[in-house]
């Protein structure tokens, strides 16, 4: 079931009547979520991602715009009739019901054509439990389960009625690090097996990129960029998207373009044919640095962190906006930790130039 959002807007009247200015939580969103895909709504807190999710679920009424499931306009339809599955951030499992009762609960509400016999319901519930691997916890109460287990019960409850769209509100934020990795693989696997269109909200870019078919980056209610994770990583439309994706984060420098050459500090570090002369921001991915004897760019070396497969050089540079410039290089290349400076040459496709005012991306031919 594909989900289409058309000029979706949500304006919250401000809390205190006096000041009167409103909060535009979601500003004119239009995008289409293909059927059967796992979509990540990504952005810093307060960017409107949860509000969008709740509008899709029907729990929040949009101020403007339309929502379509397939070609049905569900904007006016109440949550009960939308056939959505929603997993809350703190799971919202009914505390007084066992795991089995929690999972069975949605099935017991089905009416008319979808009504099921008791046996049928139990079969479906056990299937869902197996799918999320909690079939051994059926008689437990939510208070007796760990965060991860509760998470999976919530997913099973959302899935069991085979909703048209599955929505997950920051599913991993309450889990410890180790469990987070394991659970996000679970979500990926479950989504693949069921093939259900799934939208999840997260502020952790690594999580979004690792399992999403498509990510939607948002900032202060405005849609920044949509696309496959790798594609958005490699082709950020603006500085915000570039800075937001990737760990360790992208290194940003103040620079200028003159005569087709990119100047950082005093050094011409890269040929940028076809770009008019102007001051620019320059974003260089950590993996975009290659240490070279006479590389065009020199940085002062502070330390070398060997991490096995590759090692990371911690350097500083006067033109850098952040105190440290971090690069990741192949561990076979040896760098003398005692050296004062190190020279790099840059991989062109790992360097992005942004307009100083609008911070929009400026393209240049990469040969």
């Amino acid at each position: 079931m594909k989900v289409v959002l058309q000029n979706l807007t949500k304006i919250f009247p401000s809390r205190n009547k006096k000041s009167g200015e409103e909060v535009v939580a979601v500003n004119d969103f239009t995008f289409e979520i293909p059927d059967g895909k796992l979509i990540g709504l990504l952005g810093p807190s307060g960017c409107g991602k949860s509000t969008t999710l709740y509008m899709i679920s029907g729990l929040q009424k949009p101020t403007g715009g339309k929502i379509f499931f397939g070609d049905d306009d569900v904007t006016e339809l109440p949550t009960e009739s939308r056939g959505v599955g929603l997993v809350f951030q703190n799971y919202a499992l009914y505390p007084h019901m066992t795991v089995k009762q929690n999972i069975l609960f949605p099935l017991q509400n089905l009416k008319g054509a979808d009504k099921m016999s008791k046996a049928e319901m139990l079969k479906r519930a056990t299937e869902a439990a197996k799918l999320v691997q909690i079939d051994n916890l059926m008689e437990r109460k939510p208070s007796e389960l760990s965060g991860g287990q509760q998470q999976r019960v919530a997913i099973a409850r959302a899935l069991v009625k085979m909703p048209r769209v599955l929505l997950l509100d920051e599913p991993l934020s309450n889990l410890d690090a180790r469990l987070r990795l394991q659970t996000r693989e679970e979500i990926r696997r479950i989504q693949r097996e069921t093939g259900i269109t799934t939208i999840f909200v997260t502020h952790d870019q690594e999580e979004a990129m690792s399992i999403s078919d498509m990510i939607v980056v948002m900032k202060l209610g405005v849609l920044q960029q949509i696309g496959a994770p790798q594609e958005v990583y490699d082709d950020p439309h603006n500085l915000f998207v570039a800075k937001f994706l990737g760990t360790p984060p992208i290194n940003v420098f103040e620079g200028a373009v003159s005569g087709g050459k990119l100047i950082i500090g005093e050094q011409a570090v890269l040929d940028v044919p076809g770009v008019a002369d102007q001051d620019v921001y320059v974003g260089i991915r950590p993996e975009g640095f290659i240490p070279e004897e006479n590389g065009p760019m020199t940085c002062n070396l502070s330390s070398v962190e060997v991490m096995g497969r590759d090692s990371s050089l911690v350097t500083t540079h006067t033109a850098s906006l952040n105190p440290l410039v971090r690069s990741i290089i192949d561990s076979d290349i040896k760098v003398d930790p005692a050296a004062e400076t190190v020279n790099f040459s840059l991989k062109p496709h790992k360097v992005f130039i942004f307009n100083k005012e609008t911070e929009d991306r400026i393209y240049f031919e990469v040969n």
């Binding site: 679920s57 029907g58 729990l59 109440p78 949550t79 009960e80 009739s81 056939g83 959505v84 599955g85 929603l86 809350f88 703190n90 919202a92 009914y94 505390p95 007084h96 609960f105 949605p106 017991q108 509400n109 089905l110 009416k111 409850r157 959302a158 009625k161």
Partner: protein, 309 residues
């Protein structure tokens, strides 16, 4: 946890409460037990220096009184009827109040009004509603507001509380009065409880497209059960001490004209005994305390199993 050095500090904080309780609660309990075990004790004779022998005569005297069973029956019957009805009604009102936004504040205030209504006025209203005025003609001069409504719907008027009225009719009047009195406090507690239930459970229920009545029975009630247990337990404790409501309607005769004491309760018995035999009144009070204690223990036990924390 906190080491024992803090023992004395805890007792220090509790000191004022304990001292006052010792004087004004514990000592009266002792005195009540003392009086209950002095056979035939009355303060007047005590002042005159008469001495009483020590025994359980008062208790026997209370239990043998022919009216004692009626008092017990009435007390239990009223409790068993009014506590569930008032709790259920208060729950409905609280849920309804919680589900509306406009006028919610206004209606909340209205439901608090009984607190501010003087008990004399309440007694008068119930007289106007149920009392009949027997005049010269065959038919009573006025049959009361409730009967007017009944007749408007084509029913025969009922003799609710006048001479010759049926026991069940008197009970109906009392149940209406007691439930009416018990509503405001219960609504307050249950509405408070409803508002402390996490909103997200209701959102989850909506997502699961749960019909209204299932939300009410499967989510609201279970989550509210600690409050409900509390309201029911205090309801029973209060219910067993029912007295002023019956005096409010039927007066000191505790029953319709010609059937005095037919609606007497345990506390009614105690009040009649306080007049001149405090020994017997103390014994009756202790018996009542025993009953309330047992009923509350049962309630606590039942609620421990049923409610969910």
């Amino acid at each position: 946890m906190v080491d024992s050095k803090h023992q004395w500090k805890a007792w220090l904080y509790l000191a004022p409460a304990i001292v006052l309780l010792l004087i004004f609660t514990v000592w009266p309990i002792f005195n009540t037990i003392r009086m209950s075990l002095l056979e035939g004790y009355t303060t007047m004779q005590d002042v005159a220096g008469v001495s009483f022998n020590f025994g359980i005569g008062n208790f026997k005297n209370v239990l043998e009184y022919h009216g004692f069973i009626t008092c017990l029956k009435n007390t239990i019957l009223l409790c068993v009827l009014t506590v569930p009805i008032s709790t259920f009604l208060a729950l409905l009102i609280a849920v309804a109040l919680n589900s509306i936004k406009p006028l919610q504040r206004f209606l909340q205030t209205v439901f608090f009004m009984p607190y501010v209504t003087n008990s004399i006025a309440i007694g008068m209203v119930f007289a106007a509603m149920f009392n009949m005025i027997i005049g010269g003609g065959a038919r009573p001069d006025s049959v009361g507001i409730v009967n007017n409504v009944l007749e408007a719907f084509g029913f025969e008027y009922i003799n609710w509380m006048n001479a010759g009225s049926e026991y069940w009719a008197n009970i109906v009047v009392m149940v209406v009065y007691i439930v009416w009195n018990a509503l405001p406090f219960k609504i307050l507690i249950l509405l408070g409880g409803l508002q402390s239930v996490n909103k997200q459970y209701y959102e989850a229920a909506r997502v699961d497209s749960t019909p209204r009545w299932r939300v009410f029975t499967k989510i609201t009630i279970p989550l509210l059960s600690p409050m409900l247990a509390y309201v029911i337990i205090t309801g029973f404790i209060g219910g067993f001490k029912e007295y002023s409501s019956i005096v409010g309607i039927f007066g000191e005769k505790m029953g319709p004209v010609g059937q005095q004491y037919s609606l007497d309760t345990m506390v009614g018995f105690i009040y009649r005994a306080i007049g001149n035999n405090e020994g017997r009144a103390s014994a009756a009070a202790l018996i009542l305390f025993g009953i309330i204690f047992i009923v509350t223990m049962i309630n606590l036990y039942v609620s421990k199993k049923k409610t969910h924390y």
